[in-house]
């Protein structure tokens, strides 16, 4: 159990830092997204000169915004689920069920994270249509998203495992 505690401590620290960095950047991205779209409206209606890039840039910003805050949202329990059954089962069974469900989530995120690296590398073969960067730099967001979510789910799985053996209420 000491190994689990150590791992939990380390993962907790990593996830805290990831959330801190993610939330520190995400709100700026939202602000820039709004500004980009407003610029587009201004250019089109006031100056009659629509720019080619704002829409694509704003989409890229949105994907990065999502990628940076998905893990903190998951950790906070914001992902929608029907928890009627786990809530009504007896303690031990409920913990066991939560552990299994979280392990399935870990498995899914391992697959997604794995594909995301390949996706990122392929991204160097194509360029964004309206700005001069390989698409890989947008695709990288998906890798960040899935890897940070993976760390969070592993932390959650360990917590459930610990709760199952120690009998602590899972948070």
């Amino acid at each position: 159990m000491r190994a689990v505690d150590k791992a939990l401590g380390a993962l907790g620290w990593i996830n805290d830092q990831a959330a801190r960095i993610g939330l520190g950047i995400a709100w700026v991205l939202v602000a820039v997204m709004v500004a980009t779209i407003l610029l587009q409206v201004f250019m089109r209606y006031v100056l009659n000169n629509a720019l080619p890039w704002p829409e694509e840039v704003a989409r890229a910003l949105m994907i990065w915004m999502m990628a940076l805050v998905a893990a903190p949202a998951l950790r906070r329990g914001d992902f929608v689920a029907i928890t009627l059954l786990p809530d009504s089962l007896p303690n031990v069974l409920s913990r066991l069920l939560r552990l299994i469900l979280t392990c399935v989530a870990v498995a899914i995120l391992v697959v997604l994270s794995d594909i995301s690296i390949d996706f990122f590398q392929r991204g160097f073969r194509t360029r964004a249509a309206s700005f001069n960067l390989p698409r890989a730099w947008v695709y990288l967001a998906m890798a960040v998203c899935y890897f940070t979510m993976l760390f969070v789910t592993v932390e959650m799985a360990l917590k459930h495992l610990k709760a199952l053996f120690v009998g602590e209420k899972p948070s």
Binding site: A26, V41, M62, A70, P72, I108, I115
Partner: protein, 430 residues
């Protein structure tokens, strides 16, 4: 074993408590693996990305942000003040104010949760002080908050429009009358209850001068729906552009005019919107991936055959589907429910001659009312945390209002003109 089995597997996964995002990937993913169709798994991944990489979806974070900014900017207060100057003097005044404020707020925000927390935190204590039972105040706040996503702008309708490829402008236009209808119906039952249980009067009748002052206070916030809807329906802005303009307008209003918001509060508010929309974006992405497997597996055709076998009459089928949606809405939030069921049910009814926009409204209104139905209605939980009253207690107090809302759902279902007239007049549908 065929690919069709992923649907029951998916159902089992969500019923045992798997977050819907993961269930939407686990069910089709594991079926593909079992059937040696591993090559299609990167396709699933790719479709999540393609699903999220969308300009129309950007309206979701923006409308969430605009609603949150309006709320923090003290705009709720001016709306309630205006409603009270109009309705405060009649019997059950504050109950009517609650409903009418929800209708006004609905034009600024696209979310029932925002409506409940904004209006509830102000009106539930006020109603209690005025002599209402707290559970009644909480129940009417929750019941009227479902107007939020029916009157445009609406997060749910943006999601529906995107996953089902319908025009957002048409859905927004179509939601207008049904939303007003829900409000009027709630006010009607409130009047009946007010007379029967002798509800209190909130204030003496306001003079027209006082009403004029209250209207001036609410004028700038109430300009928001005019800008948003006017812009979208008039074809001047896309919904995404309108939502960005709404953010800018809300910022100017709350930072410089009402001055209730400080610059240093902005990062937290922006992040709140970012996190809430990240969850929705991932869900929509997973839904698009899910949809590709639905089309690979012919499950939609099988299900359509089954549904069509139940009855020849579209009226009976619509009745059954409303029951199904209502039951689903009791357990699942409107957004995920639309994402899951839209692609499966929509085509069946559209092939039977139901207009896609009309079906979208039936589904959206029904599932939105589901937000306020026990045992799992999201706004019940919000109303409970705002009021301190137990969810069970609010659940009982809300029943008369739910009955009225169910009646409205059937009116909307069987009288397409309620939803279709406005989009038709605007030339958004044929």
């Amino acid at each position: 074993m065929s690919l069709t089995f992923f649907l029951p597997l998916f159902l089992i996964l969500i019923l045992i408590g798997m977050p819907i995002f993961f269930a939407m990937l686990a069910a089709p993913g594991s079926m593909l693996m079992l059937l040696d169709m591993d090559r299609d798994i990167p396709l699933l991944f790719r479709n999540i990305y393609n699903g999220i990489d969308s300009f129309p979806l950007m309206a979701i974070p923006f409308f969430m942000l605009a609603g949150e900014l309006m709320n923090r900017g003290g705009i709720t207060l001016s709306l309630v003040h205006f409603s009270q100057s109009l309705l405060g003097h009649i019997r059950g005044g504050l109950a009517h104010v609650n409903i009418f404020s929800s209708m006004l707020f609905a034009g600024l925000s696209g979310s029932a949760v925002a409506d409940t927390s904004a209006l509830g935190s102000m009106l539930i204590p006020a109603m209690e002080k005025n002599g209402y039972k707290r559970k009644f105040a909480a129940a009417i706040t929750a019941a009227s908050s479902v107007i939020g996503p029916i009157i445009p702008p609406s997060g749910i309708m943006i999601i529906y429009a995107y996953t089902m490829e319908v025009s957002v402008a048409a859905l927004f236009a179509a939601g207008l009358v049904p939303g007003l209808l829900v409000g009027v119906a709630l006010m009607a039952i409130t009047s009946v209850m007010a007379a029967k249980y002798d509800f209190p009067i909130a204030s003496k009748k306001a003079s027209w001068r006082e009403r004029g002052q209250a209207a001036r206070g609410a004028f700038l916030p109430l300009l928001t729906p005019v800008i948003i809807l006017g812009g979208i329906l008039g074809g001047i802005f896309t919904p995404t552009e309108a939502s960005a303009i709404a953010v800018a307008y809300a910022l100017v209003l709350s930072l410089f005019i009402t001055r209730t918001l400080k610059f240093k509060e902005l990062p937290e508010i922006f992040n709140k919107a970012a996190m809430a929309s990240a969850v929705v974006l991932l869900l929509v992405g997973a839904a698009i991936a899910f949809k590709t497997v639905v089309s690979l597996s012919h499950v939609a055709e099988d299900l359509a055959q089954y549904v069509l076998g139940l009855s020849d009459s579209v009226y009976i089928l619509l009745f059954l589907i409303n029951i199904l949606l209502f039951v689903v809405g009791m357990f699942l939030d409107a957004g995920p429910a639309i994402i899951i069921l839209g692609p499966i049910l929509g085509p069946v009814f559209i092939s039977m001659g139901v207009d896609p926009v009309h079906f979208a409204i039936i589904m959206s209104v029904n599932l939105t009312v589901g937000l306020a139905t026990p045992p799992m209605g999201l706004v019940l939980f919000v109303a409970s945390s705002v009021s301190g009253e137990k969810v069970e207690t609010i659940s009982r107090a809300i029943l008369p209002f739910l009955a009225v809302e169910i009646l409205v759902i059937f009116l909307i279902t069987y009288f397409p003109a309620i939803s279709m007239t406005v989009p038709r007049l605007l030339g958004l549908v044929n």
